[in-house]
């Protein structure tokens, strides 16, 4: 990822500015900057996930699948589906009569996901769609379940994205947001900060040849709403029975809400 700073337009009001890691950028520029990050890391994304989380991301995703309640014949949307970890599991669950849509705003990630799933023999019930989470190209009341794993923090207007995810869910359908969050233990929090701001960029440089993208990862996690704030945002988006599950001491949280 390039080093260039992209200052927000000073003529714009505060409403036109958002954060990109710890920096403020114009809202119109965040998506392209996030895209740069993911174009840069797409090829090494899975390897880096395994290294950074010591493989635990598989357990976080597994718990998400277990809680999804997805059954044969269901329609599932996996937003920011990237390299397809959740899509693969959903594809097994929905069977031949169901459908899974792997959506990602980033063409490079989508390409890696499509190749990986095809190589593993996943075909027939999976569709690949390049889509923006804030403007989902699907009809109202269409999916039994919608998931977004480690994607929401990169979205410019999270409230709009949550509203659109709620829109495409069928009544009774479930939204699952798996995302980095705030550790609940101060000691863990301190160790996690040290790890994120020193080890992650170093690993990024050594493995993916890109420390800036992993610096952005650490910063974007700190800027993401905490557990209770995100739960409130889901309720504001019209979802009910919203709750969250802290995992690994709150390093990651799974938020779940139901469309009434």
């Amino acid at each position: 990822m390039s080093e260039q700073q992209t200052p927000a337009n000073p003529d714009n009001g505060q409403d036109d500015v958002t954060h990109f890691g710890f920096r403020d950028v114009a809202k119109s520029q965040k998506a392209s900057q996030v895209a740069e990050v993911f174009h840069s890391v797409a090829g090494k994304y899975d390897l880096m996930n395994d290294l950074m989380s010591m493989g635990i991301h598989r357990l976080w995703k597994r718990f998400t699948i277990e809680l999804s309640g997805v059954r044969p014949g269901h329609k599932v949307l996996d937003i920011a589906g990237g390299t397809g970890d959740l899509t693969m599991k959903f594809s097994d669950l929905v069977g031949r009569d169901g459908q899974v849509v792997l959506a990602d705003i980033n063409a490079s990630m989508l390409q890696v996901g499509r190749s990986r799933l095809t190589d593993r023999g996943y075909a027939g019930n999976i569709e690949y769609v390049q889509a923006d989470a804030e403007h989902l190209p699907f009809p109202d009341n269409h999916f039994n379940a919608v998931s977004i794993a480690f994607g929401l923090r990169n979205v410019t207007d999270k409230d709009q994205a949550l509203r659109d995810m709620a829109r495409v869910l069928k009544p009774g359908g479930k939204l699952m947001v798996l995302e980095f969050s705030k550790p609940t233990n101060p000691l863990l929090s301190k160790a996690y900060d040290t790890y994120s701001f020193t080890a992650l960029p170093l690993m990024g440089q050594l493995i993916a040849g890109d420390s800036e993208s992993y610096k952005y990862l650490a910063e974007s996690i700190r800027m993401h709403p905490d557990q209770d704030t995100l739960k409130g945002m889901m309720e504001d988006a019209g979802l009910v029975n919203c709750k969250y599950y802290n995992m690994t001491g709150g390093v990651v949280a799974l938020h779940v809400g139901i469309k009434p």
């Binding site: 598989r58 357990l59 718990f63 309640g69 669950l93 069977g95 802290n246």
Partner: protein
């Protein structure tokens, strides 16, 4: 809350891997178990801490979830040792009431027979995650506890 979601997911991953590995090696047992899983089977562990998990069919594989099923075809309730006995092929867990059944009792027996026929290598599955020595130690303890609970249940 203990065990937390991450640990629960690790436990279900171990069980799921052992079951599916056993299924791959035994096509007849596979058909028997998948046949018994037309609907989800739910397990309530009552003691020492209440825990609910469920078994689902996903294509030709079995999926283990640490969450209750929406509409279980069968519910099995009991203590961990009784479930360990069921998993290791003990055919008397239902008749001596170590496990209670809600739903179709015939389905419970079909499920138990299928599991007995499979004989999964639980120790090898654990060893992949925690190493050979701890897995063997835990396996040995579970086997002796199951044997003890079986003797104790004989009137």
């Amino acid at each position: 809350m203990f065990p937390g979601p991450t640990l629960l997911a690790a436990v279900t991953a171990i069980i799921e891997r052992a079951l599916n590995h056993a299924l791959e090696l035994d096509p007849a047992g596979q058909q028997a178990l998948l046949g018994a899983l037309e609907g989800p089977v739910q397990f309530h562990i009552t003691d020492p801490m209440p825990l609910t998990c469920s078994l689902h069919r996903a294509g030709n594989r079995v999926q283990v979830r640490s969450q209750p099923a929406d509409e279980p075809a069968l519910e099995i309730i009991g203590k961990p040792l009784a479930f360990a006995a069921l998993a290791t092929g003990d055919s008397s867990v239902f008749t001596d009431n170590r496990l209670a059944v809600v739903g179709d009792t015939a389905l419970a027996h079909q499920f138990q027979r299928a599991l007995g026929q499979l004989n999964p290598d639980w120790e090898a599955a654990m060893a992949r995650h925690i190493g050979d020595v701890p897995a063997h130690f835990i396996g040995k303890r579970i086997r002796s506890a199951v044997s003890w609970s079986k003797q104790r249940s004989v009137p």
